[in-house]
Amino acid sequence: MKYLTLAAGVLTATSALAETPELTVYTYDSFVSDWGPGPAVEAAFEEICACDLKLVGAGDGAALLARIKLEGARSDADVVLGLDTNLTAAAKATGLFATHSVTADYTLPIEWNDDTFAPYDWGYFAFVHNADVTAPANFVELGASDKKIVIQDPRSSTPGLGLLMWVKAAYGEKADAVWAELADNIVTVTPGWSEAYGLFLEGEADMVLSYTTSPAYHLIAEEDATKAAAVFDEGHYLQIEVAGKLKSSDNQELADQFLSFMVSEAFQTIIPTTNWMYPAVTPAAGLPAGFETLVQPAKALLIPADEADAVRDVALAEWLAALSK
């Protein structure tokens, strides 16, 4: 063990001596995967920064925040990319994040004025179904129908938490009644998005909680137009994915450069067909062909970041009570 530690120490020391500065970005797993935006983003940024961009995958959004909390001020990360508005307040409360100076002409459905985190993409949560099925028009209709849905557990999954917030934002005090109606429509609750989507593709449910942009994947990457997202008339909850830099980073300038790059054309054009979300700043050439077929919710719902924590705990208790009966 001692020798290994020594070897690891020597290796770290060597890389610190290297001439090119290294920027470490913690992000979620699917961002760094070969099919995610990671490889293209890395190539594009390294072209302009004379640096080495190191993308480190750390589970999903919530796992990412837990990791930053574990590492504290000693973290190797310069930038954290992949938190969403449900997590930003908790992230800010750690005191580990620095303010940013990024400005851009965001094409988000809402006004953005957070001085710690800058958005890079966004999407609407939605139930995805087979296009040949008529979908219910809202949660109440869904609850009254015999449509089977599969959702994710809010305690272990980001979309699962999104759904919790969605129902709460749309129905407030009456959220628990909505959940009680939905209980018999829920086939099962999975630990993560992958399991739920897998079950849906296997035909175990009529609808699955995902994003309005999911059908774009099937259309563009698989030339399969059989999937659609249901528009709910109470509005759709937004997920805005953000990044921020850490105070402890010794590459402050490079981190700033990365954040500016993140809202620039080069980064934003990569997002739609790799992360399958809407870019935070629509590129000059517009969205890729196929995105125009996606449904447009009439209303965007979002619980402000500073209230998200408190709402979350209440909503979770209601959810547990309604579904445990």
């Binding site: 290994l4 530690t5 690891a8 120490g9 290796l11 770290t12 797993d29 699917s30 760094v32 995967s33 070969d34 099919w35 995610g36 990671g38 480190v56 995958g57 750390a58 589970g59 919530a62 796992a63 925040l65 837990a66 909390k69 574990l70 590492e71 000693r74 190797d76 908790a90 089977k148 557990d153 809010p154 305690r155 272990s156 209980a183 829920i186 086939v187 099962t188 609750v189 999975t190 630990p191 993560g192 992958s194 399991e195 989507y197 897998g198 079950l199 593709l201 296997e202 035909g203 175990e204 449910a205 999911s214 994947y217 099937h218 990457a221 979770l316 959810w319 547990l320 579904l323 445990s324």
Partner: protein, 515 residues
């Protein structure tokens, strides 16, 4: 009686305890809140124990007729079927679940058949689904353990039974029941503890938050609330329940000496004909269908997805392979001395220490070691080392359960002779214990290898693009809409794990003294 020096065994047990307790301590040391459980946690504890109990009962009860039938019959494909018994155990949860759904799902074969005869479709989601999945994972394992018990009966016994024309019911009472009694409590404890840490199976098939297990509560404490105190406390609850169950089960195992024989091949003259033959045939066919149909579904979708599998998956397959091989070495280094110590000691309950490795939440161990390593080195550099130790730790209780009875038999039957010849230490191991336990060592090594290939383990916590293992890569594929490629990766994983299992198991069974 021979004496096997307990020194190495005790060190191995101490090492395991340290691995778990240091992690637990590290997590607890970073806790800020008070150490308290939420009321919902107690509901999770109750549900966890109940589902683990039922899963273990069903796995054990159903395994008895299957093992009995397999032990009595020789047929074409028997060896292959026995190898396949290792398969469900190593599958990543989501792969196994999708395989099971091909049979029990909304449009699965079972509901298709029920539809033909006009019966309402059955839903797998709920407690029944959790149990079906856990039985799918564990029935084969218990069957293998029991089969091993049958094979430890000296062939002379069965010859005598046939000569005396003793009826099967009497054979059951005289020979089979004592050996079932000897194996089932340990197997029960093993399955119970295994199901105790279930998280994804219970949640996915459990149908909702009613099916919240302790492991999910730990998950929630870590990620949702970042309440490390609660996470540590829940881990302790898990360890205490598992430890308690293990002590109780091991205490129940009676001391049975089947006596020595001449290590001939068993032949069963006593059950050649008639009703028992038909019954055995049906039992084996049903068990094989339950086992093979989901695997066939995985095979079919995997073959379809194979062309989509990117090159990176093959590279992670290589990583998984060598991680598995090193895990096997680590496991044997821990398990052999411990098993030798337990087999010759009066305190059989020390085997419970081995079970703790399985009961400890991988998330807790991973996080604990992350905290411990972080001040000194980059945890990502250590990801594979921690993974190897966790793999060995998880496989250890299985290895002990496999090895201890064999070593105990050897010690009882050959102890006096060995002592008379002055065999001790390395020579005793090389000349008496290892050759006689070769089949068991091969089985344990194969199981560990396969388990290591299939387990997602702690690597996800430390993840780093360059150090992914095959299961992690498969999950990443699933997370990026690459369902087909993920199915292909799952097939590669299945073949790799099963191949590894088969090679080691075959090494053990080939030329083994008692097949």
């Amino acid at each position: 009686m021979i004496k096997i020096s307990p020194r190495l065994g005790i060190s191995a047990a101490g090492f395991i305890a340290a691995l778990i307790l240091l992690a637990l301590g590290a997590v607890a040391s970073r806790a800020t809140g008070d150490f308290a459980l939420a009321p919902s946690d107690w509901a999770a504890v109750r549900f966890t124990i109940w589902q683990a109990f039922l899963s273990a009962i069903f796995s054990c009860l159903l395994a008895i007729p299957v093992a009995r039938a397999l032990a009595r019959r020789r047929f074409w494909g028997r060896g292959f079927l026995i190898t396949l018994l290792g398969a469900p155990f190593i599958l990543p949860v989501i792969v196994a679940v999708l395989g099971l759904l091909a049979i029990f799902g909304r449009f699965g074969i079972l509901n298709d058949m029920l539809g033909v005869i006009g019966i309402e479709p059955l839903s797998i989601y709920g407690l029944q689904g959790v149990i079906v999945a856990h039985v799918f994972f564990n029935l084969p394992l218990v069957t293998r353990l029991l089969l091993q018990g049958w094979q430890s009966v000296p062939a002379e016994r069965f010859r005598l039974v046939a000569q005396l024309d003793i009826p099967p019911s009497m054979v059951f009472r005289l020979i089979e029941w004592p050996l079932i009694l000897r194996i089932i409590p340990g197997a029960f404890a093993l399955v119970f503890v295994m199901c105790l840490t279930s998280f994804a199976v219970a949640l996915t098939l459990g149908g909702g938050p009613r099916a919240t297990t302790i492991e999910l509560a730990i998950y929630q404490a870590f990620r949702f609330d970042f309440d490390l105190g609660r996470a540590a406390l829940l881990s302790i609850v898990q360890l205490v329940v598992a430890g308690g169950a293990a002590m109780m089960a091991l205490w129940l195992i009676p001391v049975v000496n089947l006596g020595g024989g001449l290590d001939r091949m068993q032949r069963r003259w006593d059950v050649q004909m008639g009703f028992s033959r038909g019954l055995d045939g049906v039992t084996i066919a049903l068990a094989a269908a339950f086992l093979i149909l989901p695997l066939a579904a995985i095979l079919v979708s995997g073959l379809r997805g194979l062309p989509d599998v990117p090159i990176s998956v093959w590279m992670t397959a290589w990583t998984s392979l060598w991680v598995a091989l090193v895990s096997v070495v680590v496991l044997l280094a821990l398990a052999l001395p411990m098993a030798g110590w337990i087999a010759t000691s009066q305190h059989t309950s020390v085997e419970a220490v081995g079970l703790l490795g399985l009961a400890a939440s991988p998330l807790m161990i991973g996080t604990g070691w992350f905290i411990l390593i972080y001040p000194f080195a980059n945890p990502a550099d250590w990801a594979l080392v921690v993974t190897i130790f966790v793999n060995a730790l998880m496989a250890l209780p299985f290895a002990l359960r496999i090895l201890v009875p064999a070593l105990r038999d050897s010690a009882q039957s050959y102890g006096r002779l060995s002592a008379g010849l002055g065999l001790r230490g390395v020579r005793l191991w090389m000349w008496v214990l290892i050759p006689r336990a070769r089949a068991q060592i091969g089985f344990a090594a194969g199981l560990t290898g396969a388990l290591s290939v299939g387990d997602l383990g702690v690597i996800a916590l430390f993840a780093d693009p360059d150090r992914a293992t095959l299961p992690l890569q498969m999950y990443r594929l699933m997370g990026s809409y690459q369902t087909n490629a993920a199915a292909g990766a799952a097939l590669i994983l299945l073949v790799l794990a099963l191949g590894l299992f088969w090679i080691m198991d075959y090494w053990g069974r080939r030329n083994a003294i008692a097949e």
